[in-house]
């Protein structure tokens, strides 16, 4: 399948009083058509910022996209003016986004219907009647019961899971090519998480869109993603198909993440292995591997050499590590 979105060497920095924060430091990835891609990492590893950078929604100042390319439909999105009409016609219409907090990402003073029709009127120039009909249809599609009456409700009358469904309906209303879901299920309980993941998968199938799921929970996306990127301290440290990542994790960080997930097939009473230490401070990062202080596999070479780039392991599997780890 052909590549739909290609991000090359993306760098985003924030100027703070304490110093320069390299939130995204040379990230490259791609998304194929109708593919589900996972972007996994701890809080503050730059996964959300990288997605906001693709949409040019990083607050500037203090943030700044300093380098990189975002190739989408043959054009570099970063060449577009952030608030210009070209970028705006991409946002929402071509690349849509779902945010982490369903409780705050809907405008509290507008009805649900108004917030969906707004999108249709903005990008598809629909008239009010048609947009309303389409909005009801979309609400029904994402599983809101009695959509005809709920369309005139306000966000506070919806539960968290339902709000996230509404967000999905808004995001998909203009048939985007890519849906970026920034920790879409983090704020929800586990049952709702599962329902929403199913719904998102169904929806991107239905609309033939690609899906980028940003999450800190490998378990959430294991079932859905075709490929996974693991991010650490602003860089991608391992990339591969979901099978590669789970069956043959190669980077110590990925191994650590997988060991944190409880498994059903393990003997009872076995303890989970946490990753020791804390994520690094992104100000004044050492030139050596950022994971080094927490790494159980560290070698002398790691202390000497700079942070390695992604090395091909096999097929589509890449890892940024000197150590040759083969764990099953």
């Amino acid at each position: 399948m052909s590549v739909l979105l290609k991000v090359e060497n993306l760098k985003t920095q924030f100027k703070t009083d304490a110093g320069l924060v390299k939130a995204v430091d040379g990230v490259s990835y791609h998304v194929d058509e109708q593919e589900i891609v996972g972007l996994v990492g701890e809080s503050g590893c730059g996964k959300s910022v990288s997605q906001l950078s693709v949409m040019q929604l990083v607050p500037t100042p203090p943030g700044e996209i300093t380098d990189g390319e975002v190739i989408f439909e043959g054009q570099d999105l970063l060449k577009f003016e952030a608030k210009g009409s070209k970028m705006r016609s991409v946002r929402g219409a071509k690349i849509a986004m779902i945010f982490q907090e369903p409780m705050t990402s809907l405008n509290p003073v507008l009805t649900i219907g108004r917030q969906i029709t707004e999108m249709l009127e903005l990008h598809l120039s629909m008239d009010t009647e048609a947009a309303r009909g389409r909005a009801i249809e979309l609400l029904r599609l994402v599983g809101i019961p009695s959509a005809e009456s709920r369309i005139d409700d306000y966000p506070h009358q919806f539960s968290g899971g339902m709000r996230q469904r509404v967000m999905i309906a808004i995001a998909l209303s203009c048939h985007p090519r890519i849906l970026i879901a920034d920790e879409p299920t983090t704020a929800l309980d586990v049952t709702t998480q599962a329902q929403l993941m199913e719904l998102m998968k169904d929806m991107v199938d239905h609309f033939r869109a690609s899906l980028v799921i940003v999450t800190h929970n490998l378990g959430v996306i294991a079932r859905y993603a075709q490929r996974i990127y693991i991010m650490y301290a602003g860089r991608i440290v391992e990339a591969g198909t979901t099978k590669d990542i789970f069956a043959h994790p190669h980077h110590p960080y990925t191994i650590g993440l997988i060991k944190c997930i409880p498994r059903l097939d393990e003997e009872k009473g076995k303890k989970l292995v946490p990753i020791v230490g804390l994520p690094p401070n992104l100000i004044n990062m050492p030139s050596t591997c950022a994971f080094l202080p927490r790494c159980p596999y560290r070698t002398e070479k790691c202390e000497r050499e700079p942070w390695p780039g992604l090395n091909l392991i096999d097929g589509q599997h890449y890892a940024a590590c000197y150590a040759d780890i083969r764990e099953e």
Binding site: M55, G92, L106, N107, P108, L110, S149, H156, M167
Partner: protein
């Protein structure tokens, strides 16, 4: 108690759907003092419109044979030193008062809120320039500024409205800017950008409506304030020039007779107090009724 005793259906009863207007009405009219404020305002508006019909005498009509009369059946609130009927003048006085209050606040709120919204939304240099200008305006006491403007522009109703309108800009700009600054950090503003909304669209459709609740209260309170300021200016002799009936000027005229004819000052004074109070109460009621977060709760 067996499981059968628990009736599930009771919990499934859904509250009847209430239309927006009904909800507004219920919340707004649930407090007596708000209703009182509304009644006072409606009465004042009616009085202003139908003043010639309601007032027993004309505002300039002199009864020189009966000056400084105490309240009696002929002159319910007595007469002033020129023999003019106080009640009639208080009734005619609603006209300039309401006009000044409403128009001056419309000017101030319109300009102030636009400036505040732009400053808060864009931030940075635009914020600094606008807000420093507003600060400069704010550093001059309102009455002093209005006084200066009134002197420069000359007295009269129109100039008083302009003077008060300009001098009341700062609080709107300040409050709006503060609201915009905090509300623009909400996820739904980023979401509005993420669906491809332009600056103007995000500002007017998503940001501004969320900023309004405290401003509605501020506006209704400031209407009272503007009426009070107009009265102060008239009291100081800068505002609406005699012989026109204005409450502030009437208080000024009357205070010389405070010991013998207190009603001369008290009647317009009570009118000022009532109207300020009424607008404040209606402002409170509006805030409660318009806040969508309180809908369904009250």
């Amino acid at each position: 108690m067996s499981e059968k005793d628990v009736k599930g259906a009771e919990f499934l009863e859904i509250a009847p759907r209430v239309s927006w207007f009904k909800r507004f009405r219920r919340v707004f009219f649930s407090r007596g003092v708000v209703v009182f404020g509304l009644v006072v305002i409606v009465a004042l508006v009616v009085a202003a419109i139908f003043a010639p019909v309601i007032a027993p005498y004309g505002p300039y009509e002199q009864h020189l044979d009966n000056i400084l009369a105490q309240p009696d059946l002929q002159h319910l609130l007595g007469t002033d030193s020129l023999g003019r009927d106080t009640l009639s003048r208080v009734i005619f006085g609603t006209r300039p008062s309401l006009l000044v209050g409403l128009v001056a606040i419309t000017i101030a709120a319109g300009i102030g809120m636009s400036l505040g919204l732009i400053a808060g939304y864009f931030g940075g240099t635009i914020y600094a320039i606008i807000m420093r200008l507003v600060d400069t305006l704010m550093s001059i006491p309102m009455i002093l500024l209005a006084l200066t403007l009134a002197i420069v522009l000359g007295g009269g109703l129109r100039n008083i409205i302009i003077a008060l309108g300009v001098s009341m800009i700062p609080p709107y700009a300040r409050v709006m800017c503060g609201q915009a600054l905090s509300i623009k950090e909400n996820d739904y503003i980023i979401a509005a950008h993420a669906i491809g909304g332009s600056n103007r669209h995000v500002m007017l459709r998503h940001l501004a409506p969320n900023c309004f609740p405290p401003l509605i209260v501020l506006m209704t309170m400031q209407i009272g304030g503007a009426i009070l300021a107009e009265s102060s200016l008239s009291f100081l002799g800068i505002g609406i020039s005699p012989p026109a009936a204005a409450w502030g000027a009437m208080v000024n005229d009357g205070y010389r007779y405070l010991l013998t004819n207190p009603v001369l000052s008290f009647a317009p004074g009570v009118a000022i107090m009532l109207v300020v109070f009424a607008f404040n109460m209606v402002g409170d009621g509006l805030r409660d009724a318009l806040d969508p977060r309180l809908r369904g709760v009250i």
